[in-house]
């Protein structure tokens, strides 16, 4: 028996069945946005300067060129946060009077072909009155520098502060303090499919169908209808196959608003496909942070108090819906990490610069805060003369549920056990012996640890606690069996590679006794699916999975009632399996397809005890759950060139119940690969004029097969009461832990030279600079 079938007694959940998504994708039959034919094509003309007042626009006479002047009545994107001194700032969908970053769209050219649109766009020229650009965090905070938005004095757009009650007394109590400044440079999520949109006008109804590369089709519809001032029911949003998102396609693109406006105005279909340069300069950035972190440790190397100052460069505008508070405020809430520390003080600011807006990217702030915290742990270990694994043993939370210093409730887990599982699997002492021997031969190997927890599947209260105007927490799922017996689940989540069609089908299959291969999951279409928030934040399997389970259980209960009528048996004797309802211990059975038919066509037989039809809704809004993991990287550093080779990567992870091990492992692999890229390669570089130097994939380096080592995975499954399916999310964990593990390993390798690399990416240039400074 292959893994894709199952023995009668087993469940579908927990099996590595092949993905139901794959047959179409391997045949090239997937439907991606840019595959749609259009009558007209749009090219956006983007600002070549980082800061300036637009004094003149020169347009060719023969082209249709739309600027902000034509879009009167279209509101700017103005996300809201009701806490943390957030200053509401607005982004016009096309720059209006002023540009604030290189790549900001100023005009939209419409033409009959892509090529023609580009030709015309090349002839659109602007004159600017220059404003001195604010390039980075220090210049944003310099009072002599210009202010990007009048609403945000001092270029600070959000500022959170917190301090636990006894912090000052404890901080002054004479503990050993360890301090570092961790710097994460700017990165771009770089989905292989850049953003694209296609807006079609239906003459009969006046409706617009917007097909676009979004992770949140329902909210995109709400937001675009609001901004344009059109009835939401006149807009249908479709997220077809989406070629990776990683958070970048969660934030609203102003370009989509322009497309919908154009389709209505021109009563025509219009299409836009972003090129890679546009994506790299204007498709949202992330991770640009400085964290100054100081820990106070007692004599046993136990972390007693933690003090943090977080500065996030959020770029020129605030992203919708999370707002630009998402990075600094998540850092503030989650910086104590998986460690038991009761005293905490944090100041977290988001500052504006003339750079591309920041938006969530897989892991959001946590790859950076984990990097900072894990560097602190390693430095403390060094100061106390402990091994890195020892200091973590002394500090990891080991009683659950645990309420953190910032008020987060960590649900049932075993953080120390995942650490021990990883330490055992890697054989640290054998590594140390090898490291020592290699050093004698002039080779430098290092081992690096990262222990962390990953907050996943959190519902609306978590977003409300952040003061968000939009709290994208719950999900609805409708499971139905049609009169022919076809099972379909319509979901508000919007997967784009996560395999949710397969895992949700596995969950339903166990409840109603139908094979997952026969179950269809419908997503990414506001006309066909219930309102929901989409796929982001490692939430879909937890929240949509929970809602699916609720709906499927209702369908199951109804099928059992129907079967009990048709088979004249007690409900408790009915078993649903293999597409039939059976009376246990007998050969009496009725096919589910027949029951479904009768649920619609023979309702009189159920004497009013069963409502007609076979459609049930499940709704789920959970409190949130924490996965956790220990990552270990083994690297070799060439001290002459600064080149780092990741030799091995090991993950011990607890994500609760695993619905499909093959898919779960794939998520971890992909996350770790992005984390390794973040650690070593990926950096968006601006010059002193805030011009962007990394506008192609030869300059912005994402990892290839050569840079990713074999990844060894170990799982444990601590079930959580905070997740109906017992599954915890794991989509982001790989990316959260890997940068810290890799850079800790580099530092371990370079320990003989007394250097500390606290910047990511740890490029060869940075490693060589540190070694040079140390006289090597």
């Amino acid at each position: 028996m292959t893994a894709h079938a199952k023995p009668a007694s087993a469940t579908w959940v927990g099996r590595a069945i092949r993905r139901l998504e794959d047959p179409a994708l391997v045949r090239g039959d997937g439907h991606f946005t840019a595959d749609l034919p259009a009558t007209r094509w749009v090219r956006f003309v983007r600002s070549p300067v980082a800061a300036g007042l637009i004094s003149d626009i020169d347009m060719p006479a023969d082209g249709l060129v739309i600027t902000a002047a034509a879009l009167k009545g279209v509101k700017p994107i103005k996300p809201m946060l009701h806490k943390f001194n957030y200053r509401p700032i607005a982004q016009p969908v096309l720059a209006s009077g002023q540009v604030r970053f290189v790549g900001e769209p100023i005009a939209a050219v419409v033409a009959a072909s892509k090529e023609r649109a580009e030709d015309i766009a090349d002839q659109v020229t602007f004159s600017f009155r220059d404003i001195t650009p604010v390039v980075d965090i220090p210049s944003a905070l310099n009072p002599a520098m210009p202010q990007l938005h009048a609403e945000a004095p001092g270029n600070v757009v959000v500022e959170g502060r917190m301090k636990t009650p006894e912090f000052d007394a404890v901080w002054g109590a004479g503990h050993k303090t360890i301090k570092l400044e961790a710097r994460s440079h700017r990165q771009n999520a770089t989905p292989l499919e850049a953003r694209a949109a296609h807006a079609a006008y239906d003459a009969a109804t006046g409706r617009i169908t917007l097909t676009c590369t979004t992770q949140m089709p329902h909210l995109a519809r709400t937001a675009i209808a609001d901004l344009i001032g059109m009835p939401e029911s006149d807009l249908r949003v479709i997220a077809p196959d989406v070629g990776g998102g990683f958070g970048q396609k969660m934030s609203l693109a102003g370009e989509y608003v322009v497309l919908v406006w154009l389709a209505r105005k021109l009563r025509s279909s219009v299409a836009w496909a972003e090129d890679r340069r546009e994506n790299l300069i204007a498709g949202f950035h992330s991770r640009d942070q400085i964290i100054v972190l100081e820990g106070a440790f007692d004599a046993n190397a136990k972390l007693i108090a933690l003090k943090a100052d977080v500065l996030a460069n959020v770029g020129a505008y605030s992203c919708f819906p999370t707002t630009c508070g998402v990075e600094p405020l998540m850092a503030m809430a989650e910086l104590p990490g998986p460690y038991d520390v009761r005293h905490y003080q944090c100041r977290a600011r988001g500052v504006l610069t003339n750079t591309c807006p920041m938006a969530p990217y897989r892991g959001v702030s946590r790859p950076v805060l984990t990097f900072a915290l894990e560097r602190l742990m390693d430095k403390a270990a060094q100061a106390f003369g402990f091994a890195p694994e020892d200091i973590r043993r002394r500090n990891l939370i080991d009683k659950f549920p645990y309420t953190s210093a910032t008020g987060l409730v960590f649900d049932e887990a075993n953080y120390k056990q995942t650490l021990e599982m990883a330490v055992k699997a890697i054989d640290v002492s054998a590594f140390r012996a090898r490291q020592k021997k290699a050093r004698g031969e002039g080779r430098h190997f290092g081992i690096g640890f990262a222990t962390f927890s990953e907050r996943t599947g959190y519902g609306s209260p978590a977003f409300a606690a952040r003061g968000m105007e939009i709290t994208p927490g719950w999900e609805n799922v409708i499971v139905s069996v049609d009169p022919s017996g076809g099972v379909e689940a319509r979901i508000g989540s919007s997967p784009h590679g996560q395999g949710l069609r397969t895992t949700l089908a596995q969950i339903i299959a166990d409840e109603i006794g139908v094979a997952p291969q026969a179950i269809k999951i419908v997503h990414g279409d506001t006309d066909r699916t219930p309102y929901g928030w989409g796929t982001f934040a490692s939430r879909s399997l937890v929240i949509s999975g929970g809602a699916t389970l609720i709906a499927a259980r209702k369908v199951r209960a109804k099928l059992i009632k129907i079967a009990s009528h048709l088979l004249e048996a007690a409900p408790e004797d009915i078993v649903l399996a293999d597409g039939n309802a059976k009376v246990a211990g007998t050969d009496r059975a009725v096919p589910i397809a027949q029951m479904a038919r009768e649920a619609y066509t023979q309702t009189h037989r159920f004497k009013g005890e069963i409502e007609p039809g076979l459609t049930e809704t499940g709704s789920y809004d959970p409190p949130g759950t924490f996965s956790n993991a220990c990552h270990i990287a083994v690297v070799e550093v060439d001290v002459e060139t600064g080149r780092v080779k990741v030799e091995k990567f090991l993950v011990a992870e607890d994500a609760g119940r695993i619905i499909n091990p093959m898919i779960a492992d794939g998520q971890v692999h992909g996350g770790v690969a992005q984390g390794i890229g973040n650690a070593l390669l990926e950096e968006i570089v601006y010059d002193e004029d805030a011009g962007i130097l990394t506008a192609n994939l030869a300059d912005y380096l994402v990892p290839t097969a050569h840079e990713i080592p074999p990844i060894e995975l170990h799982h444990m499954e601590t079930p959580s009461v905070n997740s109906l399916t017992k599954a915890k999310g794991l989509g982001e964990g790989g990316t959260i832990g890997a940068p810290a593990a890799v850079i800790n390993a580099i530092n371990d390798a370079l320990a003989p030279f007394g250097v500390s690399i606290d910047e990511m990416p740890a490029t060869p240039q940075r490693i060589r600079a540190a070694l040079r400074k140390a006289g090597k």
């Binding site: 391997v26 997937g30 991606f32 292989l192 499919e193 990776g244 395999g499 794939g666 994939l697 097969a705």
Partner: protein
């Protein structure tokens, strides 16, 4: 630049007579003029390999070739890999080993791997890794792609 030329692209055994500007890239012609949208565009500057197709037996990036340069040549795209309902061993292996997630890079990887293995069925593991590192995937972390290609290589040698 904008004067059109009539060319014939032989895609998966079918001749497409199309009229293209000299500047039209092969990938645009395949997708828009011939309607074969399984080949994807990831970067248009020859780095990501999402647009890889096989031209006269060689896997190449169709964003770096003009359509007119492919006039009369035999082009194979992902749509031509399966034989009706029977998937190519490479397609089966990608499914079996979870070598795809979002599926956007997949057609390019399939054509790259098939093209190389048809030319060099006994390619060594290290050389194969070199070849596979010429395309980008952002979802899988490559481990399962490598596994899938190695498994398909065995199957194709049978």
């Amino acid at each position: 630049m904008t004067d059109k030329t009539v060319i014939t692209l032989h895609i998966n055994g079918r001749a497409h007579a199309v009229s293209v500007e000299p500047r039209r890239t092969l990938v645009d012609a395949i997708r828009e003029d011939c309607g074969q949208t399984g080949t994807h565009i990831g970067c248009e500057h020859g780095i990501c390999g999402a647009c890889t197709v096989i031209v006269d037996g060689e896997p190449l990036r169709s964003c770096l070739m003009f359509a007119v340069q492919a006039d009369g040549k035999k082009i194979r795209t992902v749509e031509g890999l399966a034989n009706g309902e029977d998937l190519h061993p490479m397609q089966r292996a990608f499914m079996e080993h979870h070598g795809l997630q979002c599926g956007f890079c997949t057609p390019g990887f399939l054509m790259l791997a098939v093209g190389v293995l048809e030319r060099d069925p006994n390619i060594g593991d290290e050389d194969l890794l070199d070849v596979l590192s010429s395309n980008l995937c952002r979802c899988t972390g490559y481990q399962n792609i490598i596994k899938a290609v190695r498994a398909a290589a065995k199957e194709m040698r049978k």
